[in-house]
């Protein structure tokens, strides 16, 4: 079992309750990463489903849970032949932290009927760069779990040179070697720095809603994350992330609506 598999495991208590242990290794400086929390939630949902894959997940983030024991509470909404729908709630000490609606289904290994290409080009991985290690006092531990190689202009904001538009692009893999799977994709869709950093904003950008769709099972190898946004207004911004696998397939799509940080 890899560290990621262990950090996201969900132990069945009964039909509607799973015990989980939120790992301090996925902190983004206090709060735990939302993608990590979705991966935990989805382990429980898929375990309880007759279907194999979390095809669509809509999560609303209410509060930031602390590391430590928590529960996933499930409610069956509909069990169908093609798809099963459930409500999942991440609960800690009786308080809800994430509310999600999840549809599970079983994806096949098929050739797409039609596919678009990536919405932006990436330079080869040799020309991409890592983020500097976070300072220990930042409390950011997530960076140790993942390896990301960034398209350099999209992290120009680190040196005071933001591109002026919301964007972020990077190759992604777990630091401990592991083939990507749907739970790794749940982490990946929320792993980039907020796209608004590249538009000159700073500070923690809390996600309000993150909806993502699993479109295919990823091939082994590096993932490519391409993120952008359309509008920053009235304290709100959208962030779209496409995830492409090493075989050039679109494997996940996410969109989140988040608040612009005050930092």
């Amino acid at each position: 079992m890899t560290k990621f598999d262990e950090a996201t495991q969900a132990i069945r208590v009964d039909e509607t309750t799973y015990d989980v242990c939120l790992d301090p290794g996925y902190s983004i400086g206090g709060p735990l990463n939302g993608g990590y929390l979705m991966a935990v939630l989805l382990r429980a949902v898929v375990d309880a489903s007759p279907h194999d894959h979390p095809v669509t997940t809509s999560a609303q983030f209410l509060r930031a849970p602390r590391p430590g024991p928590a529960q996933v509470r499930l409610e069956k909404i509909k069990t169908g032949r093609t798809a099963t729908m459930a409500r999942a709630t991440l609960v800690q000490e009786g308080v809800s932290f994430i509310e999600a609606l999840v549809t599970t289904a079983t994806l096949g290994d098929v050739t797409p009927d039609w596919t678009d290409g990536p919405s932006a080009a990436m330079p080869p991985v040799e020309r991409c760069v890592k983020l500097p290690d976070p300072k220990p006092e930042s409390g950011i531990t997530l960076n140790a779990q993942v390896e990301m190689f960034f398209d350099p202009p999209t992290i120009g904001w680190l040196d005071g040179r933001p591109t002026g538009r919301p964007e972020a692009r990077a190759y992604f893999r777990l630091a401990e070697p592991q083939d990507p799977d749907p739970y790794v994709l749940a982490l990946a869709v929320d792993a980039l720095p907020p796209v608004v950093f590249s538009a000159g904003k700073r500070g923690w950008a809390p996600t309000v809603d993150l909806t993502w769709h699993l479109r295919a099972l990823p091939a082994p190898g590096l993932l490519t994350l391409i993120a952008g946004g359309r509008l920053i207004s009235d304290g709100w911004f959208d962030e779209d992330v496409e995830v492409w696998d090493s075989a050039g397939r679109l494997v996940a799509q996410s969109r989140q609506l988040a608040r612009v940080g005050r930092g």
Copy 2:
């Protein structure tokens, strides 16, 4: 009160229950339009919220309800200073038809910090075309409630000339004159023919998840709907819709994951 306002009204029974009456005038040939159903649901959510606008809505569609009396059941998830989150369920004869998570907030009339332009150009409205009236036996009544003027190539599939990619573009307004508001936008994000028609697919394309974000309050006048998709595979497709108002502002963004029809 306009016909649309009447068809979407939600009458408070108590803190958690609203009575609604699903109007047969929003049928797409048997099932009622999903955008119309979201508008009904959102009337109840906003009425029960201290905030004014449905900023983000994630809806999963379980079954197709029939016209007639139904209820919206609400559950408060979190009431905050900036935003309030609720769960909303559309129930008919004790059965759930739509499960939604909705965040309400109050949007201001502000200048965006940053905005992208539309993802595709539209010809002037004079060069756009209406769909032919549906045959009475089709059971499609929605078309009488809305006026849409399509970018001609995107409805080439009607004459056996699909463009070969998932897309749809049209100007939109209600048939009965009414300024657009968030409820009209809920209808608008699901009003276009499925984008897969333009890629050569046919048949009813049931929505599984539709998530949309209200980004600004729309100015009076025609709305512009620009829809596309990235992948059609394994019986699933995504449909993204941008809604622009007459002042050139991005007022709504939606993405749905749906099943490809068998028709």
